[in-house]
């Protein structure tokens, strides 16, 4: 596997604040890597270093084997980027801006592909940018990125502001470029999106990569939130090894379930006459909390 993006022990400080501490990870050709972490963890800082917008204080970062700061222009010809917060020139139309971005790449604009994306994202390119909502400004950047024939796509919380339907369109588009052999780095704090798309994830917290690996590797760390209502009293669930943080409110039980213990859980509740069963996918916070509990447990 060729590594298209390679980050090796990069560091960055803003004044006295240390934003990144020896961050290392890589993205292989044809793979999509989720880059997750809470607000202020250092996701955007890392991405801005990768784009040559800011300069790392130490370590090395390369894309296509080229230094991200020194050879940014050559790299950017083959990279497409979408930030989480897109601001545009108020007096130009969305269509104009898309064309401008594409023409800056120097390559010929694939008109058909552009039109198709505009249709799929249900975007009106004739309005002035000042009239667009956050989600629509986001679409301008997304359409310009997907219409470009890039080899590496870098997304920094690209779906913030999109509705669930458009979020789905984004995911389809991401899969399509993957199928064409491109690589994607997707920074997000929406775990479900990362789960649906990513082969591997890197988790960053307070400027340090705390975990990276395939999603299956990490899944053992996750728990699912279960809300349960039964006819019979089920307070004995407290003693079960798969249940954590159990709280019982009248006849309703809420607890965290180890995600690999669903089977044991289902056979256990059978006799209690289940009235209602809801399970919520683990949120990123849950993953983090779970993750830190484990790390502390090991130490």
């Amino acid at each position: 596997m060729t590594k298209l993006i390679e980050v090796d022990a990069i560091e960055k400080s803003f004044g006295k604040t240390k934003a990144l501490e020896k961050v290392s990870f890589s993205v292989n050709k044809g793979e999509i890597v989720g880059f997750i972490g809470p607000n202020g963890a250092g996701k955007s800082t890392t991405i801005r270093i990768l784009l040559g917008l800011i300069r790392a204080d130490g370590g090395s970062a390369t894309i296509f084997g080229k230094d991200v700061w020194k050879e940014s222009v050559a790299i950017h010809k083959r990279v497409a980027y979408v930030p989480g917060d897109v601001n545009l020139w108020p007096n130009l139309t969305g269509g104009e801006v898309i064309d401008l971005f594409l023409s800056m790449r120097g390559a010929k604009v694939d008109k058909q592909r552009k039109e198709e994306l505009i249709r799929r994202f249900e975007f009106d390119p004739t309005k002035k940018c000042r009239a667009y909502s956050k989600g629509n400004r986001q679409k301008v950047a997304l359409i310009a990125a997907f219409a470009a024939d890039a080899e590496v796509y870098i997304f920094d919380e690209p779906t913030s502001g999109l509705d669930p339907l458009q979020e789905r369109v984004f995911q389809e588009c991401a899969k399509e470029v993957l199928a064409k052999g491109a690589s994607v780095l997707l920074s997000s704090h929406i775990l479900s999106e990362v789960e649906r798309l990513c082969d591997r994830v890197a988790i960053i917290r307070k400027g340090v990569i705390v975990e990276s690996g395939t999603l299956d590797d990490l899944r053992h760390l996750t728990r699912t939130q279960i809300t349960l209502k039964t006819k019979e009293n089920i307070s004995s669930i407290k003693e079960q090894s798969f249940a954590h943080n159990v709280s019982i409110n009248k006849d309703q039980v809420i607890f965290q379930l180890d995600s690999d213990q669903f089977d044991a859980f289902l056979s256990y509740i059978q006799p209690f006459n289940v009235l209602k069963l809801e399970s919520a996918a683990p949120k990123l916070e849950d993953l983090f909390m779970r993750h830190y509990e484990t790390v502390e447990g090991v130490e």
């Binding site: 917008l53 980027y81 971005f101 800056m104």
Partner: protein
């Protein structure tokens, strides 16, 4: 290094596309200024005797503080008169154009995150700054060519081709220099507002150095100031090209330094440190007034300091006027018409008007802040709270009124205090009343602004055109023949020029009523209309 400029051409073409209308309007304004000067002097001062009398009147510290060192006095041709009286104000106007242009195309875009998007495309690290520089150079070249052409076409025989070309080049250079200064401040500050304030600070400082240098006899200070330096070229009089070379080198150094700074720094970062803010909102901030004051605090402080310095600078030259004019009855007659009115008092009256207009800028800005909050979609958050539109608007209006009052009080105190300290015989109280007499005109300014914000929000900035018009009337009114009907349109024109004229209660009351009526009508519009 070539890589740093990749796709500058494409980006520049795009920059022109988004800027051409603004530049056209600015250049039209500049052209109007040049035409006004050239045509008016040829029309009004055709008679050499009249010009020579004017030359005599110009030779005193007060006039030099206003217009610049008296030049070409021995042979006060139309050209000399143009150079002497139109140059400094023109410089300030052209400098402002370039400062705004550079901030708009550099730090503003960076602050909005647009630069990040552009730089993530295969464009060089310096491409966007370089295209802003190209735009700056293009604009000022157009300004130079246009001004030179207008002067050659409209001037009389005293306006030589060499002088006209030199004038044009000076106009372009002043833009290049202050554009260059702004390119540097855009690297220093991490936000557009800060960069703009630093640049205006440099412009203000240059202006004050020039006042002290030109009228206080410290010539060296004038030469340190870029405005004073370029003024020293004296087109149509000396045609001195030395300042042009210095100016070109200075612009070049500023631009290259800015590019160097930009190349090294991170996108989004400023070279000056940002201070950490407060964790909690203070009790005061939670009140409507406290909130508004917090929004406009820093600019207000800068304004107050600048206005006091300006008042002191002007005040300190008053004492000298009497000395220069003592015994010269002819001049006093020409200027005052009758010798019972002193030249210095006339000067005081005029400066009071200038200061009042300057103080109108922050006054109007407070009301316009309401509009800019609206444009940034923040107004709805305030109005959506428990506050009615009327109460939000009245907070802005009351603050604006208070600012007008405090500014007039402080700057007339500074102006008068300096005059008294220099030994000029006038009561401080008279100076303060002369300053406060302008308040009714400022109420009209506030009223007009509220009208625009209430009924024509998209055209709110037209108020600056009106203020500029009033300023030209006052500043050049003594030089040009301006029809009474035109002057009449300016609210400031009606204010009695104390201490030369008597205070008139009816004018004050009438203007206040007009201003209040405009405000109330404007507020009604604001209550009814959609919030953007």
């Amino acid at each position: 290094m070539m890589q740093s400029h990749a796709r500058t051409g494409k980006l520049f073409a795009f920059t022109i596309r988004k800027e051409w209308l603004k530049l056209l309007l600015w250049l039209a304004g500049c052209a109007f200024y040049v035409i006004l000067g050239a045509v008016a002097f040829v029309e009004v001062y055709g008679d050499p005797l009249e010009r020579q009398a004017m030359a005599q009147a110009m030779q005193n510290p007060a006039m030099e503080a206003l217009f610049g060192r008296a030049i070409g006095i021995d042979n006060y041709t139309i050209g000399a008169m143009y150079s002497h009286t139109m140059t400094i104000m023109g410089f300030v106007l052209f400098a402002i154009m370039s400062i705004l242009l550079v901030v708009r195309n550099t730090r503003s875009e960076e602050e909005d995150g647009i630069l990040e998007l552009i730089q993530s495309l295969p464009t060089g690290r310096l491409a966007s700054t370089t295209s802003a520089i190209l735009l700056l150079v293009l604009t000022n070249t157009l300004l130079a060519v246009m001004s030179a052409g207008l002067l050659i076409g409209l001037g009389d025989s005293s306006m030589t081709t060499e002088g006209a070309v030199l004038t044009g080049i000076l106009y372009g250079l002043v833009g290049l220099i202050f554009g260059g200064v702004t390119l540097i401040t855009a690297q220093l500050s991490s936000n557009a507002r800060g960069a703009m304030m630093l640049s205006f600070g440099v412009l203000g400082l240059s202006y004050m150095l020039r006042i002290i240098g030109d009228s206080g006899g410290f010539n060296a200070l004038s030469w340190i100031s870029p405005l004073g330096l370029l003024y020293g070229a004296e087109p149509f009089v000396e045609n001195n090209w030395f300042p042009v070379w210095v100016g070109l080198v200075l612009s070049f150094v500023l631009i290259v330094t800015a590019l160097g700074l930009k190349h090294r720094r991170d996108v989004g970062a400023g070279l000056l440190p940002d201070r950490p803010g407060k964790r909690h909102a203070s009790v005061f901030l939670k009140t409507p007034l406290g909130f508004l004051l917090k929004l406009v605090r820093t600019p207000l402080i800068v304004w107050v300091v600048a206005m006091i310095l300006l008042g002191v600078s002007y005040g300190s030259v008053i004492g000298d006027i009497e000395d220069v004019l003592a015994g010269n009855e002819i001049i006093e007659q020409i200027i005052a018409g009758d010798d019972s009115v002193s030249m210095a008092d006339q000067f005081i009256a005029m400066i009071m008007g200038v200061l009042a207009m300057a103080a109108s800028i922050p006054t109007v800005q407070i009301i316009l802040r309401l509009r800019s909050e609206e444009k940034k979609n923040r107004l709805d958050k305030i109005i959506a709270g428990a506050r009615s539109r009327t109460s939000v608007l009245s907070t802005f209006i009351l603050t604006s009124l208070t600012v007008a009052f405090i500014f007039q009080l402080l700057q007339s105190l500074a102006f008068g205090g300096a005059a008294v300290a220099m030994g000029y015989d006038i009561a401080l109280l008279d100076m303060v009343s002369a300053g406060l007499a302008y308040l009714p005109a400022m109420v009209v300014m506030i009223g007009l602004t509220v009208m625009l914000v209430g009924w024509l929000p998209k055209a709110s900035s037209l108020i600056w055109l009106y203020l500029g018009f009033a300023f030209i009337l006052l500043y050049f009114g003594g030089l040009f023949d301006i029809p009474e009907a035109v002057s009449w349109l300016s609210a400031f024109y009606h204010i009695p020029e104390m201490p030369v004229e008597e205070w008139n209660v009816w004018t004050a009351v009438l203007l206040t009523i007009i201003g209040t009526a405009l405000t109330v009508t404007g507020a009604a519009g604001f209550r009814k209309r959609d919030i953007d």
